[in-house]
Amino acid sequence: MKVLRRSGFLLLACSVFLYPAAFAAEPADADYQRVVDRAYEAFKDVSEGNNADYIPILATVPSEMFGIVIATRDGKIFTAGEQDYRFSIQSVSKPFTAALIMARQGPQAIREKIGVEPTGLPFNSKLALEIHEQRSVNPMVNAGAIAAVSLVDAESEEERWNLVHDNIEGFAGAELPVLEEVYRSEIETAFGNRGIANLLYSYERLYSDPEEALRVYTRQCSIGINTRDLAIMGATLANEGVNPLTGRRMLPAEHVPELLAIMAAAGFYDESGEWMYSAGLPSKTGVGGGIVSVVPGKFAIAAFSPRLNEAGNSVRAMRAIRMIAGELGVGLYGPNPD
């Protein structure tokens, strides 16, 4: 047993020493700007897809908007197109609240109380809860994300919200307002999520009052961010958990790969396989039209465009990120044809 414990030091010593080798060959600044511009030009005229309409207010977001931002782990920013418009973060918030749980309560809380396996089903699936004996899901789908909010260690709804909100602001390194109109529209129509929250609660896989969890979760989804904020949130993960603008540590470095692993497995809902097959980067998408992808140890790519495909993922944002990943050759598995 002692020997094995000592082997732990071996792990630490070697990994600390060898890890920088994985970060070879970073793209030059000019390359970042070039690929961002190229992707913007290539897809700015694409008009496929539709705004999300199951949340009424999202149908009113100007469909034409399109922005792309790369943020590096040292905080350099490269942009093309719209970068200041505040859209609702929606599901892109999910990994960051999972990070809050990991940072405050340890990664075991996610593994044991929520789950880490892909469900193979859409993001709002109730069936996923019914067919898994442990009622285990993952924090990237609605059920697991509502469970994550309920798991935040808080005495009151206000404290719960403040912790969630402060955490997302911390990742972005910016003050982020709640888009109250979006919140009202969403909470009034949150029938499916209310069903999920209560179902989870009945299986003892929700850890606060269901209505409280639903309100805080919906408010979390209604946080307004711009494409630049989103890129910095991703860059914080690329930078091993430290926000490159503020220097604030948001997640212990050893938990960053764990979070990225769940994003790879489930960040694109039931299109996650397709996405890894074609782009090869851990990512998270939201029906507000935002997507963020992380190149571990290097940089993040964020893109925003409101029109979504059938699975609920932004058409232009997907194409832009896929093209950039391809051109810079940063897919985790090597070159992709797109």
Binding site: C14, S15, A21, E271, P337
Partner: protein, 354 residues
């Protein structure tokens, strides 16, 4: 003396890795140091006793459950191993990624995406529900249903031609004269009711592309190929090496075919423990109920490990622990540095294989 060595060696290794300057340009320690790492890992993890032999395939319960080996292949074809590296075992599901790759080679990446699927099912490897709950009847080539669909898409007139093409393909990847294990083949053929049902169901939805019983027969032969650990690691090394066989230098796959294979392995290679595996290890991998697992660190190396006892998801307990240990020590995980450095990586944690 042995006691002394075992207590000192990890320290020695750590210091040697950090101070010797022998770390190569690719960030790896020298082959000699890797060899020490494999032997250390093998010795430390041989104590793990968890898991069971797979009772549903009679021939697989006759193997020595204590067998345990680890092998690594570097991009130049250098092979290192510790333990039972040249004892043959049955490849079982670890064959699946290679068949998927051949389908892509013959028919393109889109064929796999459209005719089989690339999404994780969220279900066990032999799930019928996965097919029923998905409106497109789409699965992926790492579970039994998708693997049989892949076999049905192989070029060749009739099962014999398909099988010969497939065996030739595996031999090219391994650069070795791999053979069918007749005993296991008969055993698997006699007990495959569930796979028979899956093949028939897929066929009824128009998602199997050949006569179900003939497809299943080729699939059973594919599963029954004998490999040694070094051979399996060599097959995996083709994927680690961007599609080029390290020993023959022959390009067997394009880089795009390799990246697609590795992506699907990440999401579904360890069955319904794939999310957990990505979280713990962060390398694309594929397991088989024969007790073998291989993992690929793209551009760096391949690792294969073998030990017959399986956890409840069907993945070898010791092989998982061994690959996890080596990946963490070398910092190979694709999502960043080791997920579990130092004290948090307890033996119990590894031993659960969970």
């Amino acid at each position: 003396m042995k006691h002394f060595t075992s207590r000192i060696a990890p320290w020695f290794l750590a210091i040697a890795f950090a101070c010797s300057g022998a770390v190569r340009a690719d960030g790896l320690p020298s082959p000699d140091q890797l060899q020490v790492l494999l032997e250390e890992t093998h010795r430390d993890l041989a104590v793990l006793q968890g898991g069971e032999l797979p009772a549903y395939i009679p021939a697989l319960t006759e193997v020595d459950p204590e067998r345990f080996g680890i092998a690594v292949v570097l991009p130049d074809g250098t092979t290192l191993s510790a333990g039972d590296a040249d004892v043959p075992f049955v490849i079982m599901s670890a064959a699946k990624p290679f068949t998927m790759a051949l389908v892509m080679k013959q028919r393109g990446r889109e064929t796999v995406r459209e005719k089989i699927g690339v999404e994780p099912t969220g279900e066990p490897f032999n799930s019928v529900e996965a097919i029923e709950s998905n409106p497109q009847r789409s699965v992926n080539p790492m579970v039994n249903a998708g693997a049989m669909a892949a076999v049905s898409l192989l070029e060749g007139e009739g099962p014999e031609a398909r099988w010969n093409g497939l065996l030739t393909w595996y031999r090219k990847l391994a650069n070795a004269p791999l053979q069918l294990n007749q005993t296991v083949y008969r055993s698997v053929s006699g007990t495959g009711e569930r796979n028979r049902a899956i093949a028939a169901l897929l066929n009824s939805y128009g998602r199997l592309y050949g006569e179900p019983e003939k497809v299943r027969d080729v699939y059973n032969r594919q599963s029954s190929v004998d490999v040694t650990l070094e051979q399996l690691a060599m097959m995996a090394a083709v994927l680690a090496n961007g599609g080029v066989q390290p020993q023959t230098g022959e390009r067997l796959l394009t880089a795009e075919q390799v990246s697609a294979t590795l992506a699907v392995m990440t999401l579904a290679g360890m069955y319904d423990a794939s999310g957990e595996w990505a979280w713990n290890v962060g390398l694309p991998a594929k397991s088989g109920v024969g007790g073998g697992i291989f993992a690929v660190a793209p551009g760096t190396l391949s690792i294969a490990a073998f030990s017959p006892r399986l956890d409840e998801r069907g993945n070898s307990v010791r092989a998982q622990a061994a690959i996890r240990r080596i990946s963490n020590v070398l910092g190979l995980g694709l999502f960043g540095p080791p997920a579990k450095p130092a004290e948090t990586d307890s033996l119990t944690n590894e031993g659960e294989g969970s």
